[in-house]
Symmetry: C3
Subunit: 140 residues, 3 copies
């Protein structure tokens, strides 16, 4: 068993890949078979495994979630009560609820058993820069 | 390794926190490092890690999901076929699909590695009272 | 610890149950207590635990997601950039983001601790037939 906390600096909404950091943590621990659990310690950003080939996929994902959950300043979101931390805050909590806070990824033959096109992303839902903490937990 | 089934009595739609029960299970087993997996044994409620500070966040989350997935009696949901268990039943399955059935939370230094504002919630999607079972699984 | 990769042939959008395959993998490994992690190696299909009783529930789930995320040929989806792989491709990535890529299910008394009505499904989001790989990871 091994654990590590990594941090990612975000500069506004969007997807930030950390597949390389996760893979290097797995390699450093030399486990042939096991399970990597990734956990994000925040409620206004989340985790996603998505296509790492065409960057347009990430753009479209980001736009979809912005359209589904617009800022609380948008007339369609007039019912939002929690507005004290800014128009992007409550939508950030909602987008986090719609995606994932933890993901388990098996390790086979010493490597993450990701599919060819899968990358691991932090999905930032706030506008301003943030420093986000992710826990990597490896059980062998 | 340790396991426990806890049950939560719900009184209608909304978020029910059980962070304290999960934390006390972890403490009782005395593991310094490990992983707690939380799993809900139902398909019309789900799990969520969300902000435990301002209760308005939970209200807004609940309202968002009610607006995104209204009862099947709502004209916009005319296409729903599964209505025999009530107007809140099929929307409950949909809301469960949009959130999570299991969450993995690392344990560091004998404590759940939750962020400062993170609480663990059962998200009830049915109107009437229910008794919900959650499995806590600790791997050290 | 044990691992197995299973594959599922899909014939268009919808839910494909593989509870029996997962249960038989658990039985074959004879673990009394443990955790099964299910992970899908793709970004245009996903995983779901849902009601396995009334098949209308699966139909309604499928319809909900098609209405929430229509094909990119639909006028409401004019903002989609990633269209080269077909009108069902980007919506498939979005639906995968809205559901789950991995699920952890505790094992109690040698059996998956699923609720009475819970089945494990691959949720296919593409129109054409695909062969999908799922990793089963058992930690005892």
């Amino acid at each position: 068993m091994a654990q590590k906390i990594i941090s990612i600096s975000t500069r506004g909404q969007g997807l930030y890949e950390f597949t390389a950091e996760a893979a290097s943590f797995v390699r450093a621990n030399g486990a042939a078979e096991g399970l990597l659990t990734v956990f994000v310690r925040h409620t206004s950003c989340s985790l996603l495994i998505q296509e790492n080939a065409d960057p347009d996929v990430r753009t479209d994902l980001d736009v979809f979630f912005r359209r589904l959950v617009p800022p609380s300043s948008d007339p369609s979101m007039h019912w939002i009560v929690h507005t004290t931390e800014g128009a992007d805050d409550m939508p950030a909590h909602i987008k986090a609820a719609l995606t994932q806070v933890s993901i388990g990824i098996p390790i086979i033959g010493g490597r993450l058993a990701l599919g060819t096109w899968q990358g691991i992303y932090l999905f930032e839902h706030r506008d301003r820069p943030h420093r986000r903490e992710i826990v990597l937990h490896l059980s062998a």
